[in-house]
């Protein structure tokens, strides 16, 4: 017999003996050891280690003081700070999850900044190099509105463990059309929602 055939026979032997061992183990006979690993949620119910949760959402940001212009202008964040949204899924169900964003139109105490577009572009997503789960997918550029939109989305068997999505300051933009800005302070609040839904 050739060397190759011998090796493959040995291989089959090893695989079959693996089955035999577990089979014997299941019968609970003496002299065998059943190797079994059951993963459970960490700790008690409500233990944060076993939850689907945000580790962090992005820091507040601003577009500074800008001149009122009569042509459409695009502003980006200039503080040079890279921001992160970090989600941990230690539920162990592989059911996936979704991060959605919503925000009302920018407004001052007096009026809305009608027509302004707050744009978010997730740059990239990463996890610990030893994480074998599939990465969630990122949306393209989102114009944040009052109606929710998905920005990070983990389908079935994606996004287990901890995943960090980064936003470069240049990927946080504000487009202001002419004729809307007044000499005033404008602000809004983005709500980052972590969903586990059908």
């Amino acid at each position: 017999m050739s060397k190759k055939l011998w090796l493959s026979l040995v291989g089959i032997g090893v695989i079959s003996s693996g089955f035999i061992v577990s089979d014997v183990g299941a019968e609970g006979r003496e002299g065998t050891t059943e190797v079994q690993v059951n993963f459970v949620r960490d700790g008690d119910p409500g233990d944060p280690d076993g939850a689907l949760r945000f580790e962090q959402v992005i820091e507040d940001f601003s577009f500074g003081e800008q001149s009122i212009s009569s042509s459409s202008q695009t502003y980006t964040v200039t503080d040079g700070i890279e921001r992160f949204v970090e989600v941990t899924d230690n539920r162990g169900t592989g059911a996936g999850w979704d991060v959605q964003v919503r925000a009302p139109q920018l407004a001052s105490e007096n009026a809305e900044l009608t027509g302004a577009e707050l744009l978010l572009t997730p740059s990239s997503i990463s996890s610990d190099s030893s994480n074998v789960s599939n990465p969630p997918s990122l949306s393209g550029t989102i114009r944040v509105t009052d109606a929710a939109q998905s920005i990070i989305s983990a389908e079935v068997n994606e996004g287990l463990g901890t995943w960090e999505t980064n936003f470069l300051p240049t990927n946080l933009e504000l487009v202001v059309p002419p004729g809307t800005a007044r000499v005033d302070d404008y602000s809004t609040t983005i709500t980052w929602m972590l969903l586990s839904t059908p």
Partner: protein, 319 residues
């Protein structure tokens, strides 16, 4: 000309600025505990099967991770379909909101673990498909503190689906019906709003929706495409087709095609634009692109001429 105007008036400032920047670390977590009515195999959101008139209760565990006191507000929001064809959970009138009772808020001490009680009732009459909502949890912030600029907050949402018989869902054929098409002004821009509804009590997935607006001569003047759209059970969607300009009064046609993997719905709807339909958008368009301010140009010319004249005459006066 427009750019020239831009340079001239670029003097006044507006502000989108925040004084403080701090790391945004959420201070609590949410873990669902499932009652015995939970359908086997689903451990990620509530999927409860109850017979008509039955009720149940369950708890959701909240854990304060921080070393300060945290108040968490809880609500049940019905699932709707928003303009992006996303299943959105918002405060709205709905049957499911009346059937579920959530403890509205709980205050947790540093590192404390507490539960929130949820009571569920199903309708007295048997129903097909399911009702869908979500349990929404957010930290109660002091609304009076605003830092300016763009603040970021977080919330958790766990789906809650109620059914009489989940095994029958697969047999339900999705059905859509058209509602209407109408001109509106949104965020100062003219657009055509289109509405249709999911007549079935199931989620419709993988929707591709193509909308085209034609003149009565058959010229396509606007279009809109949405892929990977979803619709919540028994919900309506309204979305906008943006127009590059205000439409002249007259008759137009909206062609809407919605398809999922299996079914296709096609609607051809007539649309009549009246004189006053885009009045608001028209007014704003005129304001922002309005006539060039010749008075400002004249003043500039006068200034440019006057300064050297004044300078020269000033020097002459001294010599």
């Amino acid at each position: 000309m427009k750019y020239c105007y831009a340079v001239i008036v670029s003097v006044f400032m507006f502000v989108v600025y925040s004084d403080t920047t701090y790391a945004n670390e959420p201070s609590f977590t949410v873990t669902p505990l499932f009652p015995e009515e939970q359908i086997d195999g689903n451990e990620s959101y509530y999927e409860l099967q109850l017979d008509p008139t039955e009720s149940t209760e369950f708890e959701v565990v909240l854990h304060n991770l921080s070393s300060k006191e945290v108040t968490v507000n809880a609500s049940l929001f019905p699932a709707v379909t928003n303009e992006h064809f996303v299943i959105d959970y918002i405060e709205a009138e709905s049957e499911i909101a009346d059937l579920i009772d959530v403890e509205p808020s709980v205050t947790l001490g540093p590192h404390e673990v507490k539960t929130i009680d949820v009571a569920v009732q199903v309708p007295d009459q048997a129903f097909d498909g399911f009702l869908l909502g979500g349990l929404y949890f957010e930290e109660a912030y002091d609304e009076n503190i605003t830092n300016g600029g763009i603040s970021n907050e977080y919330a958790y949402l766990i789906g809650l689906q109620l059914t009489n018989d989940h095994e029958q869902h697969g047999a339900i054929e999705p059905e859509l019906s058209f509602i209407n098409v109408e001109p509106i002004t949104y965020e100062n821009r003219p657009r055509i709003n289109v509405s249709f509804q999911n007549d079935t009590a199931i989620i419709i997935d993988d929707l591709t929706v193509v909308t085209e607006i034609f003149t009565d001569e058959g010229e396509r003047i606007a279009s809109h495409e949405k892929v990977d759209g979803r619709m919540a059970p028994s919900s309506a969607v309204t979305y906008g087709v943006e127009l590059s300009e205000v439409l002249k009064p007259g008759t137009y046609t909206a062609n809407v095609t919605a398809t999922n993997d299996v079914d296709e719905w096609v609607w051809e709807e007539e649309l009549t634009i009246e004189e006053e339909d885009f009045a608001e958008a028209e007014m704003i368009e005129e304001e922002s692109t309005g006539p060039f301010p010749y008075w400002m140009m004249i003043m500039m010319v006068v200034a440019i001429l006057f300064v050297p004249i004044a300078f020269i005459s000033g020097r002459r006066g001294r010599s």
